[in-house]
């Protein structure tokens, strides 16, 4: 297996971007990544996207994106694993370069979510849960995470305030990210008093509906040195699944796919949770970040709420999480999110984060999951 490095990153402003369509978003991020890497060609490409069919009535994204990048006839493959589509696109690119099938791979993700109504978006996103046995009966994604939150509060005594503190921290970080969708600082009181979505979760516990894309260029470490780029290696990659329906899981306050994916990634990287300097995790809802912290081994089961309250995951804390603002503040164009997490880690290693810089960070972890946790991919990066 060949050593693989991330040599190019590309991401533009995220938000409600009415003037841009699906292909504009992907192509812009891809061109930024290609320019950043300084490569003159790409051998193969991936497009992470959850549901352009429902959001934009457009499938067949491999062809359209390669076409609009002027890259026909290279192979281009669309990856779908709900909100984990982007992270898995990066993993596929990593495997293709590591396996020797291609030398330079573009791995990007995109979602264009604001062309349809809020109700329509709620429906489209709910296709990532079990359509017949969850959605048919009226559950929504906030509803599923709300039930996890209630189970976590009941089992471990996690408080409403601790949930809110996740959002407060991520907005404090996103305030400094020029590409973030919602760059405003919020307070615990703001979160608790915001509009109810699915109790106990309010609107400020939820990641937003976002248009956006992100892309990375992957190549061999040998090639990266020739390009004169700072070396950021992918040293671990793990992927796992769990049941599609939340109700089928033995622990409603846990996420076993994240635990299994992390175990694989740690083993491959030869690292433990203690070796991780910072992480970008899938905070689609505030409760998600808490459960994920536990499943990644950053804290013991049930201790994530107190850890956030003690500032352990803030910048300057023991393990800074979501220094980019996370899904909560940066936005969550579902297919792009997993790629943007890798972009955020590389920016940290390149010391480009200004106010949010984690000094001396060398090892970072990205955790990206689909649905209510039915799929997960964990990527570990190390800077030289």
């Amino acid at each position: 297996m060949r050593d693989v490095a991330v040599v190019g990153i590309g991401m533009d402003k995220w938000g409600e971007l009415w003037e841009k369509d699906l292909r504009d978003l992907y192509v812009e991020a891809a061109l930024l990544a290609i320019d950043d890497a300084g490569v003159d060609h790409v051998d193969s490409m991936y497009v992470g996207c959850m549901t352009s069919g429902l959001f934009n009535a457009q499938e067949h994204l491999g062809s359209i994106m390669a076409d609009y990048l002027g890259m026909n006839p290279i192979p281009a493959t669309r990856i779908e694993s709900a909100c984990a589509s982007g992270g898995i696109a990066v993993r596929m690119g990593f495997m293709e370069v590591a396996g020797g099938f291609s030398d330079i791979v573009l791995a990007g993700g995109v979602e264009k979510m604001t062309d349809i109504s809020g109700d329509g978006a709620t429906f489209a996103l709910a296709t990532a849960c079990d359509q017949e046995w969850e959605a048919y009966n009226g559950v929504t994604f906030p509803g599923l995470y709300a039930m996890m939150a209630r189970a976590h509060m009941h089992k471990y005594g996690t408080t409403r305030e601790q949930l809110a503190m996740v959002a407060v921290k991520n907005h404090a970080n996103g305030y400094h990210n020029p590409n973030a969708q919602y760059r405003m600082k919020i307070t615990v009181k703001d979160v608790i008093n915001s509009v109810k979505v699915a109790e106990p979760l309010n609107i400020l516990d939820c990641s937003p509906i976002t248009d956006g894309a992100a892309a990375v260029i992957l190549t061999t470490v040998e090639n990266a040195r020739k390009l004169g780029k700072p070396i950021v290696r992918i040293i671990g990659s793990g992927q796992a699944t769990s049941t599609i329906a939340l109700h089928s899981r033995s622990d409603l306050a846990g996420m076993d796919a994240t635990r299994f994916a992390a175990e694989k990634a740690y083993k491959m990287a030869g690292k433990t949770p203690k070796d991780i300097d910072l992480a970008e995790v899938h905070d689609c809802f505030t409760i998600a970040e808490l459960i994920v912290m536990e499943e990644l081994g950053f804290v013991e089961k049930g201790k994530s709420g107190p850890a956030v309250e003690a500032g352990e995951t803030a910048i300057g804390g023991r393990i800074p999480i979501n220094t980019s603002g996370g899904l909560k503040s940066k936005g969550h164009p579902v297919g792009a999110t997993g790629v943007a997490q890798v972009v955020a880690l590389v920016e940290q290693f390149r010391c480009e984060k200004g106010e949010c810089q984690v000094e001396g960070a060398k090892v970072g972890l990205a955790q990206n999951m689909g649905g209510s946790g039915g799929s997960c991919v964990v990527t570990i990066l190390e800077a030289e």
Binding site: L54, W133, N137, T140, P142, A151, P200
Partner: protein, 133 residues
């Protein structure tokens, strides 16, 4: 959006589960699957069809304030995960129960109810909801 329609074939296919709570049962590990499936996680593929008990325990719950378009007329509504038998859990609305009375661990009973109105014609789709015992 036409995708939201519960079409007649799709509706008819799930009548044994939505009307009668028919589940798969694995004798090897004394475990139920709802809906039935071909294989058990233990590897056994000899599943028997058994009707689930119509009473169970509430494991977790929420109150949905922003539902999908088919449920707008019912907002806000309570919804939870109820365990009816080992391994067999349902995600279902908790009907006719004041929100302040809902508690994890409470006993709930399954009833046959209208679930949603489908399409522009508003055709009714049925299934199960739970009420307090």
């Amino acid at each position: 959006m036409s995708f939201e329609s519960v079409t007649p074939p799709r509706y008819a296919r799930y009548i044994p589960q939505r009307y009668r709570l028919e589940a798969g049962y694995c004798k090897e590990c004394d475990r139920y699957y709802f809906p039935p499936r071909k294989v058990c996680a233990c590897g056994c593929s000899e599943m028997e069809i058994r009707k689930l008990p119509d009473e169970g325990e509430l494991l977790t719950w929420t109150i949905i304030h922003t539902p999908g378009s088919q449920f707008q007329d019912q907002r806000p509504f309570a919804l939870g995960i109820v365990e009816l038998a080992p391994g067999a859990r349902i995600t279902t609305q908790i009907a006719d129960t004041p929100f302040e009375d809902i508690k994890i661990g409470m006993r709930l009973k399954v009833e046959f109810r209208k679930i949603q109105s489908v399409g522009e014609g508003g055709v009714l789709a049925y299934g199960y909801k739970v009420v307090s015992v």
